[in-house]
Amino acid sequence: MAKKFPIGAHLAITLAWIVISLYMIFLYAPQELTMGEVQRIFYIHFSLAMTALFAYGFVFVGSIGYLWKRSKATDDFAFACAEVGFVFCCGVLVTGPLWAKPVWGIWWTWDARLTSTFILWLLYIAYLMLRAYVTNPGRTESLSAVVGTLGFITSIVDYMAIRWWRTQHPQPVIGGGPSSGLDPRMWATVFVTWGAFLCLFFYLVRVRIGIARVRREVSRLRQQWA
């Protein structure tokens, strides 16, 4: 069995990576000409959004793993990814309007991208509520896997929304055609920041999985004691 990477080292690397990304966001990346300082929200907004979308991919993988093998470990992974993904999605919905207001003049508009992100956030809540209120063993995991799969499909629609429909949200900077793209220093900042957030995501997922294991051990001992 592969030896696990120590969680303390994982935390130290995450924190160091975050410090480097903050340095790049505020001191290394050049200032955007039309939006000015406020464009720096983009780095954190993009990283949170991509991680929240990827989180549903991981929820989907964990859910399929559970339906296939009925393994508690894959279910723990799916549940942890959903909970942490929800936190990231909250960050997206906070940073988005704070960027939109000075640039578009409005906090929110119901265009395809923003609406699909909002639906994604609601699906995260549905998943977590299902976990909290359906306590039938086996049924909870199966129902959650269905909601997780729905969330994964929505995350694909969310990602593609700015390609499929005309939206108020800016067109993609990655693979968005000849008019898209960024300054090389901005690219470097985008990827370093996204890397830091992915590292943070997996750190939080590991902690959350640890909690799920302890909870199971507590239930086992309680049943034994009863």
Binding site: V38, V87, V94, K101, P102, R208, I211, R222, W225
Partner: protein
């Protein structure tokens, strides 16, 4: 001067993560305490 929207975006994101990390550590501490108590009660934990 730092743009107020930029400041709010970064501050709120870190507040969200801090609150979540605090909630995780509280849940972890509570469960570990319960686990310790149960282990102390069960015959296998009394060795």
């Amino acid at each position: 001067m730092v743009n107020k929207f930029l400041f709010a975006a970064y501050a709120l994101v870190w507040i969200i993560f801090m609150v979540y990390a605090w909630s995780l550590s509280r849940r972890q501490a509570r469960l570990l305490k319960k686990l310790e108590d149960l282990k102390a009660k069960t015959p296998e934990g009394k060795h």
